[in-house]
Symmetry: C2
Subunit: 357 residues, 2 copies
């Protein structure tokens, strides 16, 4: 017997003309049960799991803990009109996994705090949890507990995540020195192009996207947090500073430069812009370099490496995917963060995100 089917039957009574069931029809505990049965079985170190006042966890031996929290807010970080529920749940975990990756930590557990608009269809709620559970399963991350509350406004998914790491292996933003080489993983601008494609398609009523759109849209909806790359870089110890590109490459470079007290010069020609994204930007009359450095949501890693350790880095990363591309260098002049193009050097734009206006 599938208890889910019973709950569906309870809430979706009446004729087929009945509007779809919403989360308002269920009690909090019924929603928690729907979450719990979508999750993999609890590991032995989870001494008390979902359903009590709090979770009780055995810490991992000989490791320090890395803690992060990040929220996805409807209308700020996603638009339910064109982001399917599965992708909303997936991205809520991915942004936190990416923060752990930027520290070099291996994911261990998550707590979910979700504020639900009462009118949210139950199928959408299930979809959000499915997307989240799928990524958690892939990353061997366990959901140890959480909280559900009603929202009088947007859907909000807040995820707290804990990872582990050997002491003194944490990658921080503050360790870069002048002369360190700057690398970025994978490609940039891809998610930004994907978001523009989704918006354009939605505005046109759907179905009018070019064939190249797939890779960009998939990156926006299902970004791949660089967890394995991060843990590898932490063990390899060639990296002097690291950050993940949640708010775009320009923002990441500025933050590392500021935390480390250095300058930086980025080479526009070297940026690994996804070809499909470049084609999309050019077809719309946009400058691909500008879009790629200011666009967020790629969740790649930006790292700095002392030039004498370049060989050690290469030995570790080798030909693995995603590769690292050398895009620039740290400089002495604190705060001078520049973009070098064929036309000369200009200031790298400041962070496009971060304001509350």
């Amino acid at each position: 017997v599938d208890p889910g089917a019973e709950l569906d039957a309870l809430t979706a009574t009446g004729s087929s003309a009945t509007p779809p069931a919403t989360v308002a029809g269920l009690a909090e505990r019924e929603l928690i049960e729907r979450i719990a049965r979508r999750l993999p079985p609890a590991p032995g170190w989870l001494l008390v799991g979902i359903g009590d006042d709090a979770a009780v966890v055995e810490p991992e031996r000989n490791r320090v803990e890395v803690l992060t929290v990040d929220a996805l807010v409807e209308g700020v970080h996603f638009d339910r009109a064109f982001v399917p529920p599965d992708a909303i749940g997936y991205r809520a975990l991915a942004v936190n996994l990416s923060d752990l990756a930027a520290m070099g930590a291996a994911p261990r557990l998550a707590l979910l705090s979700i504020a639900l608009p009462p009118a949210l269809p139950l199928a959408d709620f299930d979809g959000v949890i499915d997307g989240l559970a799928r990524l958690a399963g892939n990353e061997r991350l366990h959901v140890a507990g959480g909280n559900l509350t009603r929202s009088p406004g947007p859907l909000l998914i807040d995820v707290t995540m804990i990872g582990t790491l050997k002491r003194r292996q944490a990658l921080t933003r503050g360790g870069a020195s002048p002369g360190d080489v700057i690398y970025v993983s994978g490609t940039v601008g891809t998610a930004a192009a994907g978001l523009q494609m989704l918006r354009t398609s939605h505005a046109r009523g759907g179905g009018t996207l070019p064939a190249i759109a797939g890779v960009c849209i998939d990156r926006y909806l299902h970004p791949e947090p660089r967890v394995r790359l991060g843990t590898l870089l932490a063990r390899n110890r060639a990296v002097s500073a690291a950050i993940d590109l949640s708010d775009g490459l320009a923002d990441g470079v500025h933050r590392i430069a500021e935390a480390s007290g250095v300058g930086a010069t980025i080479d526009a020609e070297a940026l690994p812009i996804e070809p499909a994204a470049r084609a999309w930007f050019e077809a719309r009359g946009l400058d691909p370099v500008n879009e790629a450095i200011c666009g967020g949501d790629d969740y790649e890693l930006l790292v700095t490496v002392p030039s004498r350790l370049g060989r050690r880095l290469a030995a570790a990363v080798g030909t693995r995917e995603p590769g690292l591309t050398r895009i620039g260098v740290c400089t002495k002049e604190r705060g001078a963060v520049l973009l070098r193009t064929a036309a000369g050097e200009r200031a790298l734009p400041p962070a496009a995100f971060g304001h509350f206006r």
Copy 2:
């Protein structure tokens, strides 16, 4: 030089007729700085604190970790019209401290995730943080990191908290047996009366509350999480099950009964209803017992104790404040949760909270 004054000057330019500064005037990092300087200095076990992708923490030796997350949402859990900013911040921490207390854990660290309406006055933002920092200081709890985001709707404060506990000392909901005596700490109904008083006063334009109101309003605005009592009960090991009364006494009894597979009978005459609350309810023609068992927000502890361990419990709790009052007993008939009054026994009302309607 007070950097706060500088930021104020930056955002509050112009004549005195300028509307008050809002959070929309500041960048995320400026708001984070305002939080950081309101917090006590970081302890040695916080290896990387606020300002990087994630916090890095040295776990406490020979302890298990207790994790909880809880959100306060404007319009659901508080009304900014009559709950001052300081109390909003205080309560956001208190509800989580209360969850740790119910497990018997000592608080260690918190992560804050706040969704801010752009129009929130900066003075209110500071007030929220001040209320939160004050309670954190009292409880030796350290804020290790967090996240700020814009909210297109309500103010939302989500707090993740981690406490520690010796292995096998965690108090859970599931350990009660038939015959176990049920105790509650402090008084019940107090916060519910306080909320009614605040609403009444607000509806009348303020200033018309009786002199007895103070204790009830203060309980609603600044509930005292029973952290010391919880840790004492965990060490004492007389308690078989525990829960905190966030959603009211009736809800707590139902949850313990369900998790433990027992019934319960509560003695209405024995309930420690705050005299000021009783007077308020009676003056308004409300049944004090009904209000006291259904009202939430008291954040007292409800515990069960095998009758043979009553003396051990008394030896530990003694004459400490808040005292424990014996209010009922666990029974054999699973699910039979009753209220005994002078008029006879009736079903204890089900949880008033927990639905998303």
